[in-house]
């Protein structure tokens, strides 16, 4: 499978800190996949995310995005265009005074001509279902809507990868679903690679692959089914198991005859109603 991002032996320490935040992390991101990077606070997952579009540069090792390298000054802008990033706080990444101004911000930075800009704004705002809000101001929007505008701003730049850096952690449940559904559709229908950084394992369940970060190192990597069987590892990484998994284990412990521990609520319910 073709890689869109390769992280090779990356070590990074923040200035003035002795222990490195990232220690020799290597990672391949495949084109079109949904990759979740999970970890506790301080596991280095957010630092890793900022490596992916060159907001931080590795002290050792290299990060490549398609044929570009984040450490090269000539490549950095193309890297940032290709790898869009949605941050945690919906308010603190809204630059424009209205929805269309905010979507335009990235395009203005990349020097896109005005006619092309208008076209791309209208197109990308429709892809996140915010076309009715084009002239709204940020304080009139909900958190989920603001995050969708942020996604539209990235889409307008014609990216290959969207990085969600805890992008749903400040949203209410409805906003969370809004954002995840929007991104899932982009991932499935348009083949945009999604990297979601989260400490919420429920969100990681829907990923194609999961990477577990622990103390600045990659602790595990694999499909969700495998990763979630490694309970000790997840616990030592400071992560809370998904509710369905915990429930099915508790039920098995009580003597309910389940074949295995189920990851999703749907699977669990399907197994339960068939029981005599």
């Amino acid at each position: 499978m073709e890689n869109i991002i390769t992280v090779k032996d990356v070590t990074f320490s923040y200035p003035g800190e002795e222990t490195p935040t990232l220690k020799g992390v290597s990672l391949d991101v495949h084109k079109g996949e949904w990759l979740s990077i999970v970890g506790h606070n301080g596991s280095g997952k957010s630092t890793l995310a900022k490596m992916l579009n060159g907001l931080l540069l590795p002290s050792e090792g290299a990060v490549n995005v398609s044929q570009y390298t984040t450490g090269l000054p000539d490549d950095i802008w193309e890297v940032r265009r290709l790898v869009g990033m949605v941050f945690q706080n919906p308010d603190n990444q809204f630059v424009g005074t209205s929805v269309q101004d905010d979507i335009a911000f990235g395009l203005e930075n990349f020097g896109v001509p005005r006619d092309e800009m208008v076209k791309r704004i209208n197109e990308s705002v429709a892809r996140v279902g915010m076309e009715a809000f084009l002239n709204q101001e940020p304080h009139q929007l909900s958190g989920g809507q603001k995050q969708r505008v942020a996604i539209a701003g990235i889409l307008a730049q014609k990216p290959s990868v969207i990085v969600l850096d805890e992008a749903t952690s400040m949203l209410d449940p409805i906003g969370r679903i809004e954002v995840i559904d929007t991104v899932r559709e982009l991932n499935k229908k348009e083949g945009i690679t999604v990297i979601s950084i989260t400490h919420d394992l429920e969100e990681a369940l829907s990923a194609d692959r999961v990477v577990v970060m622990k103390m600045g190192e990659k602790a595990a990597e694999g499909v969700p089914e495998d990763i979630f069987q490694q309970r000790e590892l997840l616990k030592s990484a400071g992560l809370d198991l998904p509710f369905s998994l915990k429930l099915s284990e508790a039920l098995r412990h009580q003597g309910v005859e389940l074949d295995k521990s189920y990851l999703t609520q749907e699977e669990l319910v399907n197994a339960l109603w068939k029981l005599a």
Binding site: W77, D91, N92, D101, E108, H139
Partner: protein, 265 residues
């Protein structure tokens, strides 16, 4: 309560003045600041007043909105008028009571100065009443553009302005939230002596400052992530369009200036 705050004093309407390019309005208002000082007799003041009244009626802004802008300076207007009436000793003596002497020249001078101030403030408020703050910012950026040659950070200034405008409602919402949080814990912002009340605002301002700095940092990161690298090579979505009416307005203003030159003493 803070949700409905309108930034600046923009009055939304559809008038020829609203449709004018912000650049021509800025130039006109700036120019007007100077030509007001050309008037020095009844005829020239009459011309200026007529021009201003016509402009105001064209703008479709109700007078009470203009009055709101005038209110803060009304005291200043009355004060300067009285000062001139009592202190200027020119022309015929009109009234004398003890040491108080009022001359004809003083009265005229007082009225002129008051008119000058009123006209100035009315025209400049008309600019902010008919132009959104963001349009004014855009206009300023364009007009001051040539100053970039002397390394004046015009683009940065304009970006700072527009980000400030964008964050005003956000910060107001946050203020309200912190205020409620502190009130829930017994803070009292509304009663007691001024000193106590001022002190009560410290626990409001400190968290607001801290979070503003955090916002600034995150915003800078988000801007960088979206490829921001200063004003060079940047295109713009907001396009200012110079129409015939803008040229026409400036010609009108030039004619006004000419007539003031011809009619003044």
């Amino acid at each position: 309560m803070l949700q409905n705050v309108i930034i600046g004093q923009y009055y939304p309407a559809s008038s020829p003045l609203h449709r004018m390019d912000s650049r021509s309005k800025l130039i006109a208002a700036f120019f007007y600041l100077f030509i007001v000082f050309l008037a020095n007799n009844w005829v020239t003041y009459g011309v200026l007043i007529a021009f201003t009244v016509v402009t105001i009626s064209l703008s479709k802004v109700p007078f009470r909105f203009l009055y709101k802008g005038l209110k803060p300076i009304l005291l200043l207007v009355v004060f300067t008028m009285l000062l001139h009436i009592f202190l200027t000793k020119e022309g015929d003596l009109l009234y004398k009571a003890g040491f108080l002497e009022i001359y004809e020249g003083g009265v005229i001078q007082g009225i002129f100065i008051a008119l000058r101030l009123l006209l100035l403030v009315m025209m400049t408020s008309l600019l902010t009443l008919t132009t959104t703050p963001i349009d004014i910012t855009d206009g300023l950026e364009h007009l001051l553009g040539p100053l970039k040659k002397w390394r004046l950070p015009v683009h940065e200034f304009a970006l700072m302005m527009s980000i400030s405008l964008r964050f005003i409602p956000t910060l107001l919402q946050e203020t309200e939230k912190i205020m409620k949080a502190q009130m829930a814990r017994g803070a009292d912002f509304t009663s007691g002596p001024i000193k106590e009340r001022a002190k009560a605002f410290v626990p409001l301002l400190v968290p607001l400052f801290v979070s503003s700095f955090k916002r600034a940092e995150e915003l800078a990161l988000a801007m960088e992530a979206r490829g921001y690298r200063g004003g060079e090579g940047r295109t713009r979505l907001r396009a200012l369009e110079w129409h015939q009416r803008d040229t026409f307005a400036l010609i009108l203003l030039a004619l006004l200036t000419l007539s003031l030159f011809l009619l003044r003493n």
